[in-house]
């Protein structure tokens, strides 16, 4: 067992897969320039030492090309791991991801495969509105993509390895405040959870959530940074005698409904916590699906705690107000118990 940050775990996953399979390569902006950053959050730092700059490919600032090249390489025998510095820039390559990556297999009647991975850091970190968005829900709406969001080092390594071996395009959402990036790429107010990672190889299948904390009164589904806020809230609520079960879905497409339903059978109350803005967030899909399949298990309305429907403001005072805090989760949980 080694202790690792999420950035290190992702790096190890990439390293192991690149050693295992020479078709795997990385491309992105500033991912491992000599003396550079190793990507915006150090995930690919130093990999070119072992694999060279052909397989750790620094690109021009050309997002359309990065995504398109990943699609083309994936269709013809390679396994690209592409990277954007901030998830927000996925909008610049949206067409390639939505119209090509997601549809090539289908449009070809299943004769073409697109085994690519698209990595994107998300989360608000006082950078202002264009470097703060959580874009999961733009992509869960696109059939043909798989969407994962690891929140621990263990999951980061196991899920990324699974993504690399998947024959379909997988978008990996990683949280800026969870990486544990070091040096001059360190993030203020980062949580940077360090976790145990087995020395022996392991893979984590998609579609299996985990219960991060057991409880009996309320089920909270939360991903990435919001998972930690939910756990923080659960501690506070416990002191008030409210027992919260916290579920980390780990992957959004596919999503582990069984786990959530088995949990609400017990708690009969559901809250979803998400960092993306509320309207049409992935939490809406979960809520709607549960309202259709498991309504009868619920004793109270389904609550979503999400970022308010505004662009992310720069001022920390305002950013902290719009992004769900442990306090807001606690407050919503109290209301929910009274409902």
């Amino acid at each position: 067992m080694a202790k690792m940050s999420i950035a290190e775990a992702l790096r190890e996953a990439i390293r192991e897969e690149m050693r295992r399979d020479e078709r795997v390569f990385c491309l992105g902006e500033d991912i491992d320039v000599e003396g550079g950053f190793g990507g915006a959050f150090t995930v690919t730092l130093g990999l070119s030492k072992e694999f060279g700059h052909e397989r750790i490919l620094d690109t021009p600032i050309s997002e359309i090309m990065i995504a398109g090249a990943a699609v083309g390489a994936a269709m013809t025998g390679m396994i690209p791991i592409a990277d954007v510095q901030y998830g927000d820039f996925l909008f610049c390559m949206m067409d390639q991801l939505a119209d090509n990556a997601a549809k090539m297999t289908y449009m070809s009647g299943g004769t073409v495969k697109v085994p690519m991975v698209m990595r994107a850091p998300v989360g608000a970190t006082t950078r202002g509105a264009q470097h703060a968005q959580s874009l999961e829900s733009f992509f869960t709406h696109i059939p043909g993509l798989k969407i994962i969001c690891p929140s621990t080092a263990y999951d980061a390594k196991g899920l990324l390895k699974t993504a690399i071996r998947d024959n379909n395009p997988v978008v990996v959402f990683e949280h800026k405040l969870l990486y544990g990036s070091k040096g001059n790429r360190a993030e203020k107010s980062a949580l940077s959870p360090v976790g145990e990672v087995p020395d022996e190889e392991y893979l984590i299948p998609f579609g299996q959530g985990v219960i991060r904390r057991e409880g009996t009164d309320i089920t909270i589904v939360a991903n990435l940074l919001m998972l930690y806020r939910a756990l923080e809230a659960a501690d506070i609520l416990e002191k008030e005698g409210i027992s919260v079960e916290v579920i980390d879905p780990r992957t959004l497409v596919p999503f582990d409904y069984e786990l959530v339903i088995s949990s609400i059978k017990k708690t009969s109350r559901l809250m979803i916590v998400e960092e993306n803005t509320r309207r049409n967030g992935w939490g809406a899909e979960i809520a709607a699906q549960i309202a259709e399949d498991a309504l009868y298990y619920l004793d109270a309305p389904i609550i979503r705690v999400a970022t308010y429907d505004v662009p992310i403001p720069f001022a920390p005072i305002m950013e902290n107000f719009v992004v769900p805090s442990a306090a807001r989760i606690v407050e919503s949980a109290r209301k929910l118990m009274k409902a």
């Binding site: 397989r55 990065i66 995504a67 449009m107 009647g109 043909g144």
Partner: protein, 319 residues
Amino acid sequence: MMISIERILSMYEQMFLLRNYEDKIYYMFLEGIMPGTIHQSQGQEACAVGMLYDLRKEDYMTSTHRPAGHCLAKGVSLNSMMAEMFAKSTGCCKGKGGAMHTGDISVGALPAIAITAGGMPVAVGVGLSCKMRKTDNVVVCFFGDGASNEGAFHEAMNAASIWNLPVVFVCENNLYGASTHIRQVINVENIADRAVAYGMPGEVVEGNDVLKVNEAATRAIARAREGKGPTLLELKTYRRCGHSRNDACGYRDKQEEKEWFDKDPLKITKDYIQLNKLATDEELEQIEKKVLQQIEDAVEYAKASPDPKPEDALLHVYY
């Protein structure tokens, strides 16, 4: 030097196939027995055939919303192309792709991409793959004059150049992007002139002369194969058909149309053959009859093919 007889005859045969395949589709489409829309390539046969004639099966091609000629010339089977137009389960995309997405990866024809210039960054990735896998395969990337104004064009051209990739960028300049004349949307004489912005060789080619196209293709493909990097070829050509469906081309100058219609690539090639006595009229007729029969057979094949099941729509979302 003089081209070999069977070479020029088979080029003519291919061009004749492309033309008559499209004409046949056009009539059937007007009859209303075909779903969707059509973007046809009558008049641009010399581009597809000249560029792809010497490509290997292992080489790749990316195409556009106007892919029929490219696909047939790259070796996608006539039957599977026709069946796709009829939305049959025997189509090259099992009826899931349609006229704008035909292709067959087994012969190196990627499913066509209908997003203008959307195939260009993909071609960069294919070139990267050919290079990283240490093959000497190349990619021919087709796009239009209008596509040269897309950001995707710029990003793809630049990347292919700095990475010295085996990509041949082929701009079929048929003077129009839909109804818009290229003169109204670019401020340079030739699209090939844009190659300088990427330190890439650019060449203007008479796109309706299959031999001229093939000569340029030979140079560019050799360059790519030898690892010397990408080339931008601009093939000056013209649509004999509408942009899509039953487009009457009211936006085109009649004089311009006449001049270009006179430069019919099939006629140019046929004249060349006859002038140089490379085949008798009978031999040519033989070829043409054979091709027309193949097309009829393909139509029969397509019509006789089974429809996909509605629930098949749920398959192939993931590989």
